[in-house]
């Protein structure tokens, strides 16, 4: 779309690393071939994804405008960018930033790109990437060239590949670290980039590094593979290594990563990664993407068998000279300060607000006299002008030591403490000194329905609303609740990491009298600390418009009833999930449309909510259909399963979760066939025939995944459970029921007899 696109290649020829330049040329050729119809659309889709070029909402060319679903009149005669993806539809460009490390010039270039090709905003993601939204695919090679000229690649930012390798943003300056993991994360990122052993995965693969076990900055235990720094005495000398975890992941059903090795010497880091990649490539699921993450393989094989296979592969690897070469470079990695260490002058006059900002956004480094300053970005967003200002400050106060964080913020490292007042004044002038870093108001949210094709509800709209209210209430300054974490996803896919929040939400929908109503599932008691040490469980779906009130209730109650030193997680455990549900149960009903239409509109939107081209179905006129009643009863059962699990009744919990799914299937069968089989085997068979084989139950994106949860539970019914498998079955029951709600809504919307 940009008239200057043809000129940039010549302009930047001498500035791009030849390898990156060549890769971008190849991508540009692929674009040309696709335009000529010479590459299959599916192949092209994966090709562009591996370059970070993502689709965006409404790129099918269809959009519900609040009244009806309309075809967006894009120019005709162009190919698709992938199945059902219009060429001219705006998309997203993800920019990979290994371990979040950036210099000033890189920030400036991202600012330029945000202005010239996107909407003026750069977005920091929960994987320390940047994203630009509303980008035209024809501009992407130029964007890549301008990034390459400053040493950034977008390669493998998306697709079935090794995603951005993340690391604690305090690595190297952290007071609790065992050692600085930064050079190891960097080594891993660049070693695996484009590695031939990592090109045939069934799904994406995420790696994280943490300098210590206790703090949450890298969330190692929710990763496909995670490394925690460790030292061990070997032959009288202290040696560096890592505690290694595999098979973690959030997604629809979260899995805690398993301890793969208590101590892996640093020399084995790269070989192990290749061996794991080989096992994943060889044995990982390829056809069904819903079970293709490595967590499913680890679960299927069992940890010991998985380990054995990795060890076998490791034994068969031919040594790669880069293993040693890259390790030799590790000691040369060093970050240095620009200024001498300094002390914060206690008596010097300071700008208003400095103390609050200092208390919340400043971290005293392990190196005396230096501090790391967090720049809290609302919903991870920063303007081009602000990026340039951060670049200026990075040059003025540091040796350009900037990092992104998984909490969607930026940090400036190695600031002399004596400079803090001056830096604060400059950040404040740039409207970048909001004193909320890591607080309850520093909400993490995925893009949700704003731009994501899979979003069900507006995670960012809700996050913006909650943020505004929490700040107005001063919750970020209330010692009792200020450190709670809120995380929001627009759907069950967990990109907002809702499972590891004190209070998490994910978007769902409910049918109400022929209308679809935006809701959020409420999860409480997840753990952000200890590298995402435990996951929260769902309490119930709350209409989107009543979520702020639900949150307020939890905050009020925790503030007034917590015991001295009691964490929110312990508090939730003490009062119990049943009580949690009681606290918000009265908020769950939705008033009729004619009484309060605002419930039928999502946050930050003005259109009547829809999850598709939904009309008024056959049941219109009934206040509540029998299916609605039955599905509500199933949700109660799923919730009871949680309570049983909480009480340590593992088998009963799993059995109850299974029954919730079976009753959900019964409800749908009753609606579709008028039949109401009682026998579990008959329910299973009929559901399979009428809902799975016909694909009626299929989610547009997850396909038959949720039905498989029911089938798997049916197949194993009677087999013993452990707490983890029971917890998973409960999660799966909840997701099956969400899918049942959606399926029911689709059946209602279908033309009579259709």
């Amino acid at each position: 779309m940009k008239a200057s696109n043809p000129f940039w290649k010549d302009q930047l020829e001498d500035q791009m690393p030849p390898q990156l330049a060549a890769e971008i040329d190849v991508f540009e050729h692929e674009l040309a071939l696709r335009r000529q119809g010479k590459i299959d659309e599916r192949v092209f889709a994966e090709t562009r994804l591996r370059r970070g070029v993502y689709g965006q909402r409404y790129d099918s060319g269809q959009r519900h405008d609040g009244i009806r679903t309309r075809t967006l009149a894009y120019p005709e005669g162009k190919p698709t960018k992938g199945p059902n993806t219009v060429w001219d539809a705006p998309g997203m460009q993800r920019i990979k930033i290994p371990f979040g490390g950036l210099n000033a010039r890189q920030l400036e270039v991202i600012a330029e790109l945000a202005e010239e090709y996107a909407d003026g905003v750069a977005h920091v993601t929960t994987r320390q990437d940047f994203q630009l939204h509303f980008v035209h695919i024809d501009d992407t090679p130029t964007i890549m060239r301008r990034l390459a000229a400053v040493g950034i690649t977008t390669r493998e930012a998306c697709g079935n590949s090794i995603r951005n390798v993340t690391a604690c943003p305090l690595a190297g300056v952290c007071r609790d670290q065992v050692f600085d993991v930064t050079p190891y994360a960097k080594m891993m990122a660049y070693y695996l980039l484009g590695h031939p052993e990592c090109q045939d995965f069934g799904r994406k693969f995420k790696i994280a590094f943490s300098g210590c076990k206790e703090n949450p900055c890298a969330l190692v235990r929710m990763h496909d593979m995670g490394f925690i720094a460790a030292v061990r005495e070997v032959d009288g000398a202290l040696r560096r290594g890592f505690e290694v975890y595999v098979g973690g992941g959030l997604g629809t059903v979260p899995y805690q990563a398993k301890l793969f090795a208590e101590f892996l010497p640093v020399e084995e880091l790269l070989p192990l990664a290749v061996a794991v990649a080989r096992v994943y490539t060889k044995y990982g699921e390829k056809k069904n993407r819903n079970t293709a993450r490595i967590k499913f393989l680890v679960h299927k094989l069992g940890l010991e068998e998985f380990k054995q296979r990795v060890e076998q592969e490791r034994a068969g690897l031919r040594p790669d000279p880069r293993w040693e070469q890259m390790l030799r470079e590790i000691p040369t990695y060093q970050e240095r300060p620009l200024k001498d260490p300094g002390l914060l002058q206690i008596t010097a006059p300071r700008l208003e607000g400095f103390e609050r900002w200092y208390a919340r956004n400043v971290y005293r480094q392990r190196q005396p006299g230096y501090a790391t300053v967090t720049i809290a970005l609302p919903l991870g967003d920063i303007t081009a002008a602000q990026l340039r200002r951060v670049a200026d400050l990075a040059r003025k106060y540091t040796r350009e030591t900037v990092r992104t964080t998984v909490e969607q913020n930026l940090v400036l490292r190695w600031v002399s403490e004596a400079d803090l007042p001056a830096l604060y004044a400059e950040l404040k002038a740039a409207q970048l000194a909001e004193p909320v870093a890591g607080s309850i108001a520093d909400i993490v949210a995925c893009p949700g329905t704003d731009t994501c094709k899979l979003g069900i509800a507006s995670s960012r709209g809700l996050a913006a609303e909650l943020r505004q209210r929490l700040l107005a209430q001063g919750a970020d300054q209330d010692a009792a609740v200020s450190n709670l974490h809120i995380k929001i996803s627009g759907c069950f896919n967990s990109c907002g990491q809702h499972h590891v929040a004190d209070i998490g939400f994910y978007g769902v929908s409910r049918n109400k009298n022929g209308y679809t109503v935006p809701h959020f599932q409420l999860l409480v008691g997840g753990q952000w600390e200890e590298n995402a040490g435990s996951y929260g469980l769902a309490i119930g779906a709350i209409p989107a418009k009543r979520v702020p009130e639900a949150l307020e209730r939890f905050i009020r109650r925790y503030r007034s009833e917590r015991a001295f030193g009691e964490s929110f997680q312990s508090f939730i455990q003490r009062i119990g999930k049943a009580e949690c549900k009681r606290m918000v149960e009265d908020l769950m009903p939705v008033p009729p449309h004619e009484e309060d239409p605002s419930f039928y509109v999502d946050w930050s939107d003005a259109r009547e909510f829809t999850i598709g081209d939904l009309g008024v179905g056959e049941c219109a006129g009934e206040l509540v259909s029998p299916v609605d009643f039955q599905l509500a009863a199933c949700e109660r059962e799923a919730f009871e399963a949680q309570l049983l699990l909480e009480a340590g009744q593992i088998e009963r919990a799993a059995q109850t979760a299974y029954k919730a799914m079976m009753h959900g299937a019964q409800a749908l069968l009753r609606f579709k066939l008028g039949a109401f089989p009682e026998d579990p085997e008959a329910v299973y068979q009929q559901f399979r025939t009428h809902f799975y084989d016909t694909q009626l139950f299929f989610d547009p994106f997850a396909q038959g995944k949720f039905a498989h949860y029911y089938f798997a539970a049916h197949a194993r019914n009677g087999a013993p459970h452990d707490p983890e498998s029971a917890r998973r079955q409960i999660e799966e029951a909840q997701l099956f029921l969400e899918a049942a709600h959606s399926c029911y809504a689709r059946m209602l919307a279908a033309p009579a007899g259709g």
Binding site: W8, A111, E112, E116, T383, A385, Q468
Partner: protein, 187 residues
Amino acid sequence: MAKQPDHINVKIFALEPTPEDLAGAIPVFHRWIQQNAAPELLIDVADYRHVPAGPGVILVGLEANYSLDLTENRLGLLYNRKKPVAGSLEDKLRQAYEAASAACRRLEQEPEFHRKLHFDPNSCEVIFNDRLLAPNTLETFERLRSGMEQFFAELWGRGTFALERVGEPRERLRVRAAVRSSLTPLI
């Protein structure tokens, strides 16, 4: 070789007092999509009200975006032309200014903003949204000056206005144009 500038943005500033909240822009822009209220293909609405001095609320289109923009904490209607426009610089400026101006008039009439939002017909900012075609240098500014003068003379009358290059070198080339009586201190 001097390349022809393209992708011209025009921001028409709002007059004080401006609305405290831009929430009203969300239903307005969604209605514009429903009503095909602009010549461009209108796609979606992006809400950036949470970003200080940011793009505010954007009506995203294929050929251009419209936004109630808060850059530099100054509210205005920004027309961001994305698809190249044929013709001379004056033609491109005219297209962008007229599109922005039409959107301003329409916004002023919308119930959410009626009597609450007024735009200044005597000043605007022109942004050349391409650092390669229009590098932010004095030389480019001088090269483009005559084309801009021709267009603004047509709009406001010859000799009645001033053009000033604003901002810092890393920004895109930005030119503030204002009828002399309405000149405000430039940043």
